[in-house]
């Protein structure tokens, strides 16, 4: 497998690199140019984003002053309690929600609306109920992959259906699918348009443990296939999943006006082996850290009860 040194982001490397870059600039321009190339590009940059909703009972601020830079090729997991604003934050990246203040830059451009450079798996799947499983994916591919001929498109859709093991169900309507199957269609649809940024809002939440594991592997396969150039941002409630997949885990505070509580690096080498990493002391350390970040508020409430 081809490995680029910048395509396997290491914990904390961005800090070092930017320091080096500044240094290099001061020393000589030729080496600065070299460093800029090797420097991981920023894929998504969330700048001081606040999102407030108008509600009948007044203005509700869901997330407040969020700053987050995500490198190209990085996998970032967002965790936090239900209702803290994870989907809201994701939606500012996808362009479904406009920040009340601040801005999001994706692929070098300010996000003003959704676009096919950011593939989305919606938390509620959002399949078109009148289109078959096949057509749901085909229409997306047809819109985005403009230079494919129709036979290639068909092939591409079928390949993606096989990846999520839904080829036999391709002619069913979404109403005839189970929750997990719908979720897999949504995943196949987002993967099929080959976006440079994948936004996954609890993409595996409705799946059983085995299917979930398979999907983790498929996700990483896809990521590897593209030389780890795809940026993946996912919301999850599952700490094990976050550690297995992500380079960094962003833990959010509870709302209203949720902020980032802490960003935890996952210091595990890739490729990660699901069975083996659980015995890795680094894994256990990260797991404990995330768990206590999520639980410390609960334990107080428990005592009160």
């Amino acid at each position: 497998m081809m490995q680029n040194n910048y395509a396997t982001p290491q914990a904390g490397s961005s800090m070092d690199n930017s320091d080096k870059q500044v240094l290099a600039k001061m020393v000589d321009s030729a080496s600065a140019f070299h460093k800029v190339v090797a420097q991981p590009q920023t894929s998504v940059s969330i700048k001081d984003v606040t999102v407030s909703f108008k509600t009948p009972t007044g203005i509700y601020t869901a997330v407040k002053s969020i700053d987050l830079d995500i490198r190209k090729g990085e996998i970032v997991a967002l965790i936090g309690h239900s209702g803290c604003g994870k989907s809201t934050l994701m939606n500012t990246i996808s362009g479904m929600v406009k920040p009340s203040s601040g801005e999001v830059i994706a692929n070098g451009k300010r996000v003003t609306g959704p676009g096919p450079d950011r593939g989305i798996v919606f938390q509620n799947y959002s399949l078109l109920p009148w289109l078959s499983v096949y057509r749901n994916i085909y229409e997306a591919v047809d819109s985005v992959m403009k230079d494919m001929c129709s036979a290639e498109k068909k092939d591409h859709v079928e390949q993606n259906l096989k990846m999520v093991h839904l080829y036999e169900h391709k002619d069913k309507l979404p109403g005839q699918l189970s929750g997990g199957m719908k979720q897999r269609v949504a995943i196949a649809r987002a993967f099929a348009i080959n976006p440079s940024i994948l936004l996954l809002d609890e993409p595996f939440g409705a799946l059983d443990a085995l299917t979930k594991s398979n999907m983790h592997v498929e996700l990483l396969k896809l990521w590897n296939l593209d030389n780890r150039n795809k940026t993946i941002i996912m919301v999850t409630h599952d700490i094990e999943e976050a550690i297995f997949l992500a380079d960094r885990v962003v833990v959010m505070n509870n709302g209203p006006a949720a902020t980032i509580k802490e960003i935890v690096d996952v210091p595990l080498e890739r490729p990660r082996n699901k069975k083996e990493i659980v015995h890795d002391p680094l894994y256990m350390e990260t797991h404990d850290k995330l768990l206590s970040l999520l639980l410390d508020k609960f334990s107080i409430e428990d005592e009160v009860e």
């Binding site: 362009g95 676009g115 096919p116 950011r118 959002s126 009148w130 289109l131 309507l173 649809r189």
Partner: protein
């Protein structure tokens, strides 16, 4: 089972009808027609053979009941067809543009409550001035078509606009997130979602149109069922003919409604 209910329902209707006819009878009269101002079902059955003797006769003076039915259906078809042709695209536009909705809605709100019959004299005045024609195309028939056209606009227009305006944000987001072109958005999201609403509108419209045509043809004369009721029923003193016409109008209306109901079923994606 549904057939049994249907038969039961018909028997109930015949029973009530007989009771009322009997209650209304004039015991002194010797002549059957005079004895029953409201004819009984049996008396009505008797005239059927007369009315249906030559249904598609189409001479200048004498027209069969079938010819009249076809005349009414043609007027409804043309008026409803033209109305739908305007109402559906306009409804799609109103539903997708707040600006157009705000601009056009007051017009709709003012014109919609007007009884369709009020449009008849207006149509007649305009079409008479424009000159005559034959059969369907004579001014009074055109005025009836115009009336049908107007009254079948509103339910379709309003339902279509409502359908489009209520497309869930989720579906719109799919279009945006996956870069659908405007055309693809229209044929893959907007139309499939609003189709059931459009068909509901059409169903309501055809119902109104079929009700209104009878009244319209009483005014317009000519070769329609409405005129049959008035001229050959009331003016000729043949109450049985009025009843037969009412039954025919009812049955045809029922069939039209069933037809659009089946369309409704065919176009609703969640019923499958």
């Amino acid at each position: 089972m549904p057939v049994l209910y249907f038969v039961g329902s018909i028997l109930l209707l015949l029973g009530i009808w007989t009771l009322i006819a009997w209650g209304n009878r004039n015991p002194e009269a010797t002549d059957l027609v005079e004895r029953y101002p409201l004819p009984t079902p049996l008396m009505t059955l008797d005239v059927l053979s007369e009315i249906f003797a030559n249904p598609f006769q189409n001479d200048p003076d004498v027209k069969g009941i079938g010819t009249k039915l076809i005349g009414s259906l043609m007027r409804v078809g043309i008026g409803f067809g033209l109305g739908s042709l305007i109402a559906i695209p306009l409804g799609l536009l109103l539903g997708s543009s707040k600006f157009m909705m705000s601009l056009i809605n007051p017009i709709v709100q003012i014109l919609r409550p007007v009884s369709p019959l009020a449009w008849y004299p207006l149509g007649l005045a305009v079409f008479s001035a424009a000159g005559g024609g034959d059969g369907l195309m004579n001014p009074s028939s055109k005025a009836a078509i115009f009336m049908i056209f107007i009254c079948s606009l509103w339910p379709t227009l309003i339902n279509t606009a409502f359908g489009v305006a209520s497309i869930p944000q989720d579906h719109k987001n799919v279009g945006k997130a996956f870069g659908f072109s405007v055309w693809k958005y229209i044929i893959r999201i907007l139309l499939p979602y609003s189709l059931p609403h459009i068909v509901t509108g059409l169903k309501l419209s055809i119902g109104v149109a079929w009700m209104v045509i009878v009244a319209g043809e009483m005014l317009s004369g000519g070769d329609g069922l409405g005129f049959f009721v008035w001229e050959e029923g009331f003016n000729a003193g043949k109450t049985t003919h009025i009843i037969v016409a009412i039954l025919i109008i009812g049955i045809v209306g029922f069939i039209l409604d069933k037809f659009f109901s089946s369309l409704q079923k065919a176009f609703s994606y969640d019923a499958k």
